[in-house]
Symmetry: C2
Subunit: 119 residues, 2 copies
Amino acid sequence: MKPVNLAEKFSRFDDHWHPRVVGALNGQLVKVAKLKGEFDWHFHATEDELFLVVKGTLRIQLRHGEVAIAPGEFYIVPRGVEHRPVADEEVHVVLFEPEMTSNTGNVVTERTRTTLEWI
Amino acid sequence: MKPVNLAEKFSRFDDHWHPRVVGALNGQLVKVAKLKGEFDWHFHATEDELFLVVKGTLRIQLRHGEVAIAPGEFYIVPRGVEHRPVADEEVHVVLFEPEMTSNTGNVVTERTRTTLEWI
């Protein structure tokens, strides 16, 4: 019966673009990830994806524009919308998405994660 | 294409125990609420409920103990688990839960909200 402390979870790893699971509810997962640099363009065919930023500013490039997400802000990328996360400086982000969501969506790259890692 | 700023959303209302909707994804809602005092004992028969605290410390009383959730921490109350949120000082909380979730779960009290209010 202890809460999940986000800062403590972020302290457990240092690699980028490697989400870890920190919670599960209603078929959805709560994940934390550190991001730096440019990710791959991708979309999720059937899943909306929430990005809640806790450190740094995350840019999400969309085909028709860009969203900048500062700490204390979140943005929901709707299903089917192609997007590319870009972190000019390191970003700490909390993700909220369905259990089946792949981090690279419709594409498979060297950064695709095929297993769920709980921390 | 603007992110949702949590502080800005919290600035829009002052009443307690009245969640507002600030996002929707995958059949789930993101809500914000200000809490103060003791809520009603209740449970949600089929929905898990996430409490992410951004200000203050939220105590969630359970029949077999209590959880204290500080800013930057979250706790998931599993479906079917009777609980009572208590905020000794004002708490600002972000909720993740299914669309159909009633704030008072299995009971109806004067604080039950029957409509969804987007802000």
